[in-house]
Subunit: 341 residues, 4 copies
């Protein structure tokens, strides 16, 4: 059975496992105070060209989103996000569970638009009753988005500019950041993100790690006593080494970028093959997630041989599926899948 269902169906990159074994019996301090966490942070700072960045390792995306949002917002503030943002839709209400409203903005293939954001913020502050409303206290974007789309450097700059004029942080969810950075159609780099975003995270779980996200505060803005904040959210690993060693490995010799590029190449072969066979794509994604429109019969037949992500039914006769490649995708599997079409 082939699988293109998601980018987290395999374990971890072999170099990570190897390093876990090599370091296994070293006696290290707990709670992220070990040398591997320190090294990983230093390497990430360099990759971001942001020497003052403060970094914290967490285990998963929803956890990272909820803690970051909860730590940055005042109690009466909410987070503005696309209606389709992961925090709005697929985190079981973790943001609200921690007391904050997700203020939904219109989405354009998963992206928000600086003009609409500005109009929303302006309208809030002009409203005489705004003390009875939820204050917009930060902005959340995902990059790549839930639809695989990317912001351009110019778009990030515009969003950043709006946020700064309203003095609220811009937060970027990079669960699949590697796949965005290695896209052929992007002018956004890690240093660009570090410049325009106040906080962002570099996704590990979907890009070669067993688990782990690296949360980066770029503007000397990590909330005070952040360890205590993380602890009270139940997110402080006793063996912080597990995260440190993984990110140290991912940011050694460019591994994170190398394995991300592989996923993009595999997605490229997939797209080309689909195009050749005349399949319509649901939208144009420059990253590792591809959305294809299949006739229902074709979908049913294919499902028996390849796991795919069901996305939606655009009309009664068709099904949109999501096909995800990853660091672990094998070229022969892509070719075998294309052969089934």
């Amino acid at each position: 059975m082939l699988s293109f269902e998601s980018d987290y169906v395999e374990g971890a990159h072999e170099r990570i496992l190897q390093r876990l074994i090599e370091t296994n019996l070293e006696q290290l301090s707990g709670y992220g105070q070990d040398c591997y966490c320190a090294r990983a942070k230093e390497k990430i700072r360099q990759a971001c060209e942001c020497p003052g960045a403060e970094i914290f390792f967490l285990t998963g995306g929803t956890q990272t989103n909820m803690i970051t949002i909860d730590a940055l917002l005042k109690s009466y503030e909410g987070v503005a996000a696309a209606k389709t943002g992961h925090v709005s839709t697929h985190e079981a209400g973790a943001v609200e569970f921690h007391g904050h409203k997700v203020l939904e903005l219109p989405e354009h293939q998963g992206k928000i638009c600086a003009k609409e954001l500005e109009a929303f913020l302006k309208s809030f502050w002009q409203d005489e009753n705004h003390e009875h409303m939820v204050f917009p206290g930060m902005v959340y974007i995902s990059h790549p988005t839930e639809y695989g789309t990317l912001y351009s450097r110019e778009e990030l700059k515009e969003l950043s500019s709006v946020c700064r004029s309203y003095e609220i942080p811009l937060y970027l969810d990079g669960a699949r950041l590697g796949y965005g950075l290695m896209s052929r159609d992007t002018d956004v780099t890690l240093p660009v993100i570090a410049e325009y975003c106040d906080v962002f995270y570099i996704g590990g779980t979907k890009v070669g790690a067993l688990c782990g996200e690296a949360l980066v505060f770029t503007k000397d803005n990590m909330p005070g006593h952040f360890t205590a904040v993380v602890k009270q959210h139940g997110a402080l690993l006793a063996k912080g080494r597990l995260l440190g060693i993984q990110f140290d490995t991912l940011f050694t010799d460019g591994l994170y970028f190398e394995i991300s590029r592989h996923a993009i190449e595999m997605a490229g072969i997939l797209k080309e093959g689909l195009d050749k066979k005349g399949y319509r794509r649901y939208l144009e994604s420059p990253t590792n997630q591809q959305f294809v429109i299949l006739e229902n019969e074709k979908y049913q037949a294919l499902k028996k041989e390849a796991a795919m992500g069901f996305w939606e039914k655009p009309d009664p006769g068709h099904t949109v599926v999501r096909l995800a490649t990853s660091w672990a995708t094998r070229r022969e599997d892509v070719e075998a899948f294309l052969a089934l079409l």
Copy 2:
């Protein structure tokens, strides 16, 4: 440098790492829906002799405590626990952060006493103003306790009986459960715990795993939609396999018990050595944590060669230290440490 500072300074048992490698490229469902989680659960059910047990894997102790307590309590209820309980003292207020008071009971070397618990519960319900107070909604115990001490089977039975008469669950924090079960001075087994406790967890992080705790509901009492509850607490791992594979390995061929027994043997050698050299113990612990009273000078000298956990100063001239052995402790290290005394 020797280290007896804690039981989480090394990585994971080698068999676990080996299994991670062997299974690494298998394509598995996410969020704990994989075959290794299923197998691990089945093996735990058998070890508990509790065929109906419902099990959920989480990443750490504080996380497990806060989710379990939050999920089992109504909003107006609190959890009764020893004043020295981990939830009372060293979880950064995670229980209160999630809305619940820790109702502190007197402690006896870390343990609570059924009679005092009963008196507390009775007094609450007799108080005319109890609608203005925090309702005791469950009882938390740790086994081994934070002082390394253990409940006897009879004591568990008594606590359980009090809880049942007041219709509140008894929850056992087993962060170091293996070391309790393999103590030479215990009549408590996993099936005994499964019988008397309504919920408990089997600690992995401190007993051979990279991370992970197995939360066990023994009485058909897992809260509905528990996956959503875990998700909204930010605790649902995308690659649930990481936890499943670890617990599957730990509960194959009795590995969990075997490595726990090793820690107890090492603690035994340590105790014997300390006794021979005339060191006083702070209290009598039958598990892997040993508490020793050192003269301050001795403490300062020793610290240069061996990491130990500072515990407290019982008087100006002495220091109590905690020495922890673990699944990974080497006999030669214990002997080297004793030679330093």
Copy 3:
């Protein structure tokens, strides 16, 4: 200066003040355990023709909404409401602050539609990923809505039927309930509401009281230990008599209905006058809130002589204002206002 800005600019109906004076030195139990609370509850049960109704008095609308929603929902559930519902827009995020998402439904002049609600619920339960989403755990409607509109008996029945088939409660926010019940264009009565809604509240603050809302559980479904729940939300008045005496007075000799009818009559005169003078209404409201479209110049001129609620700008040249009558509105003030037009 005339004022039609809102329905809470005056104090309380004089009969209420008189009763406060008459009973002032009676020594009564605190926390709602007094005889006036008991009498008021009994009168409300009768007015609702719901002998088993359980009733709790609270001080304000947002407080009542947030406590009811928080008490009825499980932690992973949210409340479905119109995008324009008071809980969605003007309660400073009190629902989210207490941990729950407001699941926004399309609105039709403030109302939701049973078909769309059913489609939403169906779609949630059919989604394979619903454990990662917020569960719809109850439905919130306001009656009259924020636009002054009313549900028909048939519409309430349909909403109730959808809720029952999904086993979730239907909750009605009756901040202005009197003005809805006394509308000339309604077939909805208190017993109808008590039949179709699982919980609702009868607004006092906007209908003749100094403060106070009567929360009514109609189906033997008041959450256990509700006093403790209210207390922990900071909403339990020591002198519960303040609320009991007010509702006892409002439900004696039909005062609540009588003063509500007065507001409707005043609104009728206002509407008629506006129509005669050719003013367009923004929407057709059968209750005490009227929405009128004014030319900007007219609006600016009028503002100097009469306070009105700014609503929105439908186009650059016009302004929509809300004019609210109430139990305290004087006929001569309505006439004076019309004379200004």
Copy 4:
């Protein structure tokens, strides 16, 4: 039936009711933006000799405590309070419900001691693991305490000094503040409190109002957007006038102090009478709450003629009762009660 059960069994001082009637039909802005709130604030500032004080009116004590504590603390901080403090014992866990631990300090007849507070704070900051503990973020005291006792000016100064050296606010719960200020045995005045405390509230509910507490921030330290914070806790009254008019009246012509002095006089007569008849007091209270030790038979007999507050059983043969006088206590009732002894 006589009643000395509590100080909130009657309604409000007649001058308050009279003012409610006089102002009843004035059309006033909502949410505390009316002229009576403004006047009341100004009068309180003058009484406190604190021209910069920022004041907010809330409805009850638990509400005021929970909002103040929640608004002043960071998420990882708790509030230090006497074990017997109202927030520790009788607020249904409202502080914990809003996410914060009450850090219990030893109590001395309801009071905490500056030395013990300092030792606690010092010990916290010296603990190497304090990032895993709850940070002490503010200090709560009640004055009078739950036992009717009072801090001296010197004691307040010492507590204040400790708080300032640790840069945490000192908060004083003045639910019965008038009765403390008018005690014959105090050197503490409103300006003294305003000097040494960072925040405090002047209790209205127990001192002549129907409901209402005046929360005073003395050091330019009201949290930003406090109206929104109050709103999201469900505590913003639409008709803020209800609170403004009451406090305006209480602080006109010294009414608050005058009626408080009356309660103290009545307590004096009560104490003298008890002493004469040889009754032992449980502790020495200089305020309106008196604690008397009765033989059980006497208690049972008295209960039939006078409501008293049950406090505790110090031994099997005796009962401690609390007798509370108030602004409304009639001298003839005190005398009638004494005659029963």
